[in-house]
C-alpha cells in the first residue's frame, strides 16, 4: 500500500508539471496583458518607465522564460510569487479566500449526499416503480443544466421574487463572523451546485445498490429472517457505498469548477472569485497559484478515492 501511494504521488509530479506548463502557455499566448497596473491611463508613462515596470514584473521576457522563473521559484523556495496587482504574496491571497470556497463546497457536498444516497437506494430497492422512474427523469433533466444559468434562475426566484435568501455575497453587513448568516448566503449557491451534480450521484448509488442486491450474502441475510430495513441499510448499503466513495474523489474537478463560476455569479469572495478576477486582470502569478492548487486538489482527490476504495473493500489490493 505504501509503495503504491509513493508511486502514485511520484507519478503526479510530471502531470502537475504538464498542467502548469500548458496553463502558463495558454495565458502567455492569449491576447491582452496585465491590466491592473498597465491601464490605459498608464500611457502617461514614458516608454522607458513602461519598460522598467515590465522588467520589474518580469514581463519583458518570453512566456516560457517567465514560466521557468516561476517554476524555479516554486521548486527551490516554495514561493508562488507575488501578485502583479497589489504586490502581495499569492499564497497569502489564496489562503485568505480558501475557507470560503471550502465552506461552499462542503455544504453542497453534504446536501448532495444527504439526498442522493437515500434516493438512490430507494430507486434500486423499488426498481421500475413510479419513484424510480421519477427519480431517473428528474436526474437526467437536471444533469444537463449549465450551472451559471441555474444560479441566475435561483437568484431570480428565491432572492428577487420570494425574498427567502440574499441574492449574493457571503455575509450581511455587520455579520462577518456569524455562521448562521454565512449559511443563509451559501444555501442558494450550494443548492445550485447540488442540483447539477445530484443526477450522477443518484444514478451511481442506484447502480451500486442494484449490483449488491443480487449478491449471495444479501440473500443469506434475508433468509436469516432479518428485517428488510436491516438487510438494506446494514448489509447491502455498506458495500454499495464503496463506488460512491470513489466518486467523491472523481467528481471533485467538476465540483470545484462549478463552485468557481457560482462564486462569480453570487459575488462570493472565495477562490473562484479571486481566480476569475485575476484572469480578467491577467494577474499571472495569482492565476498560476490557484491553477496549481486546484490541480493538486484534483490529483489528491483521485488518490484518496483509490485509497478509500482499498480501505473499504478488503478485496482490493494495490501492490
Amino acid at each position: 500500500m505504501t509503495t503504491y501511494i509513493v508511486r502514485r504521488v511520484l507519478g503526479a509530479i510530471p502531470l502537475l508539471l504538464v498542467i502548469t506548463l500548458i496553463s502558463y502557455a495558454l495565458m502567455g499566448l492569449a491576447p491582452g496583458g496585465p491590466t491592473a497596473l498597465l491601464t490605459r491611463e498608464a500611457h502617461a508613462m514614458t516608454p522607458a518607465a513602461r519598460e522598467q515596470m515590465l522588467a520589474m514584473l518580469g514581463l519583458n521576457r518570453p512566456w516560457y522564460v517567465q514560466y521557468f522563473y516561476w517554476l524555479s521559484a516554486l521548486v527551490l523556495h516554495g514561493n508562488l510569487g507575488t501578485s502583479y496587482v497589489d504586490g502581495r504574496p499569492v499564497l497569502e491571497k489564496i489562503l485568505e479566500k480558501l475557507p470560503i470556497t471550502v465552506e461552499l463546497l462542503g455544504l453542497s457536498q453534504l446536501l448532495t449526499l444527504a439526498i442522493a444516497i437515500p434516493v438512490g437506494v430507494r430507486s434500486a430497492v423499488r426498481r421500475n416503480s413510479l419513484f424510480d422512474h421519477a427519480a431517473t427523469v428528474v436526474a437526467f433533466a437536471t444533469y444537463g443544466i449549465p450551472v451559471f444559468w441555474l444560479g441566475l434562475m435561483m437568484i431570480d426566484l428565491f432572492a428577487l421574487h420570494l425574498h427567502w435568501f440574499p441574492a449574493s455575497g457571503y455575509a450581511s453587513l455587520g455579520h462577518a463572523h456569524d455562521p448562521l448568516d454565512h449559511l443563509r448566503h451559501l444555501i442558494l449557491p450550494a443548492v445550485t451546485l447540488s442540483i447539477v451534480s445530484l443526477a450522477g450521484w443518484i444514478r451511481y448509488q442506484r447502480g451500486a445498490m442494484l449490483n449488491v442486491l443480487d449478491e449471495p450474502y444479501v440473500r443469506t441475510a434475508r433468509s436469516k429472517g432479518l428485517s428488510e430495513r436491516v438487510v438494506i441499510y446494514r448489509h447491502a448499503l455498506r458495500n454499495a457505498l464503496i463506488p460512491t466513495l470513489t466518486l467523491l474523489g472523481l467528481t471533485l474537478p467538476a465540483l470545484v469548477g462549478g463552485a468557481y463560476f457560482l462564486e462569480y455569479v453570487f459575488s462570493i469572495p472565495g477562490m473562484g472569485y479571486l481566480y476569475l478576477t485575476a484572469v480578467f486582470e491577467r494577474d499571472y502569478p495569482t492565476v498560476m497559484g490557484i491553477t496549481l492548487l486546484t490541480a493538486v486538489l484534483v490529483v489528491l482527490g483521485n488518490l484518496l478515492a483509490d485509497i478509500a476504495y482499498a480501505v473499504a473493500d478488503p478485496r482490493v489490493r494495490y501492490d
Binding site: 496585465p34 491590466t35 490605459r40 514614458t46 513602461r50 496587482v85 502581495r88 427567502w164
Partner: protein, 522 residues
Amino acid sequence: MLLVVFALAGTAGCSSAQAHLPADTLVALEAGDAPTLSPLYSTNYYSTVYENLVMDPLVNVGGHFQPIPWLATSWSSGPAHLHWTVHLRRGVTFSDGAPFTSKDVVFSYDTYLNPKVGFPYQGQFAYIKKVTALGPYTVRFDLSQTNALFVAEGLNLPILPQHILGKIPPAQMHSSGFGEHPVGTGPYTLVRWRHDDELIFQRNPHWWHGLPRIPRIEIRVVLNSQSESEAMENGNADFYDGIPTSSYALLRGDDPNLTYVHLPDLYSVFLETNDALPGLRDVRVRQAMIYGWDREALVKGLLHGDAIVATGIVPHGLPEWYDPNVKRYPYDPAKARALLEAAGWRMGSGGVRERDGKPLRFTLLMPNAGAAAADLGADYQADMRAIGIAIDVKMLDYATFIEDLDKSDFQIAYTGWGGTTDPDEFTFLDSSQFPPTGNNAGHYVNHAVDRVLRAGLRELNPVKRKALYDRMQVLTAEDPPVIWAYDVYYRAAFSKRVEFNGAHLLPDQYIWNNVWDWSLRP
C-alpha cells in the same frame, strides 16, 4: 425535502434587517476593494479614495476644483514658472508620530519619479526635473518646462513617509507591504483590512488640521448593488458612494430616511474613431455619425433619463471650464445623410452606402462590460443603419480590448475619459501623442487644436487659460475627435444622521475630501 431546507434556512435568517449602527462609526458602502493603498501603484478608483483618508498631498482640491494649501502653506514661482518655492506646514506629524519635513517631500518626489520604482503615472510628471530641500520647511521644484498643471496636479501627489520607505530599494517598493499598511499624515489611519470585505479607519488624533469629527469609519465592500441598496433602506449603512443608475432608480426620492446627492460627474462616455482610416479621416463622416445618433432617446430610454447628452469633450461636471457655446449636433438624420452624400458615399445595395465600390462599414469594439454597454452598442448600430452605415459590434474581454486600443488596432471603440479636474487633453488629442508616446489612439490630427493645447499647458494666467480652452472646445466641436455620447451623473445617498455641508460636496473620489468635517447626529 429541498424546499423544507430552504424554508427553514430562509426564515432563520430573516432577522438581519435593522441593525443598530455604532454611534461613533460612519458605515460607508463602496462597490469595490482597493488592490493596494500605496499611491505608488494605485490605478484604481477605490485605492485613490482610501489612500486620501490616510495620506495628505501638498496641495489639495478645493470646492471649485481649485488648488488649496494643504501640507504646503504657500507656493511661488519665478518669471518663467520654471522654479517654484514651496513652503511647508510646521508641526505636522505622521500617524506614527514621526515629524513631517522637507525630507519627506524630496523623498516622495524622488520615488515617484524614479523609473526603477514603476509609478504608472511617472511620465505625466516627468517635467519635474529636480526637487531640493532649501530648509526643513522649504522645498524648491525645478521644472524642465513650464506646466500649468504643476500646482493642481504636480503638487497633489500623496506625501510618503521617508522614515519608513527610505530603507526600501526602489525595485522592491512594489512588494514592500506598504500598500497593506500605509502610513501618512492624513485624517485617518487604517486599523484593519479584510480584502473584498471591510476596511476600518480610526481618526488620527495628531492630525494637523484638527480632530476629525467622526471617530471611526467602516468601509464595507459590497460586490453587488442590490445588497447595497437594501443595506441603505434597512438603515444598515450611512453612506453609499457612487450608486449605479439601475439602483438609483430603485432608491430615488421616496425614502425619508435618506439624503440624496446627485451631481454632474467628471466622466464622459463616447465612441473613439480611428482617424487613420480613410473613411473616418473625413470630418463629414464623423459629423454624420453624431447627427445620425438619437442620443436624447438613448439617455431617456436606456439610461432612464439619468445622464446628460454630451456637447463636447469637457464634461458638464466641470462648470468652470465647460463651454456651451459650441457647434451642437442635435439628432438630424437628414443632415447626416446629406453630409455622407457630400462626402461621396452613395446608397448602395442592401442599405449600406458605398464609395469606389467600398462599403461604409466599421467595427465597433467594446469591452465586455455588461448588458448596458451591449445595449448601447446595439442602439448605435440601429441608428447608423438608418443612415446607411453598417456597424459590426465586437465584444472583447477588457485586457484584450485595452491592448487593441493601445496599438490603435480598432476602427471605432467604446470608451470614455474624465476624472481630471482640468480641461487639458494634450496626451489624448495632440498630434504628437500617438501611441506608444501618448493616448491619442484615435490618431486625431488638428493643428489648430495642437496649438491651443500646447499654449494651454504653458499659460498660468487663469483668464487667458480659460480663453484657450474655450477655443479648444469650439475647434473640437467643429472637428469632433470622438463621437460623444453622454456625460454621467454622480449619485450617492446618506443616512439622516450624517451631517455635512452640501455646498462643499464634489462628485466622485472628491466626495470624501471633506470627510473630516462630516459628523454623526446622536
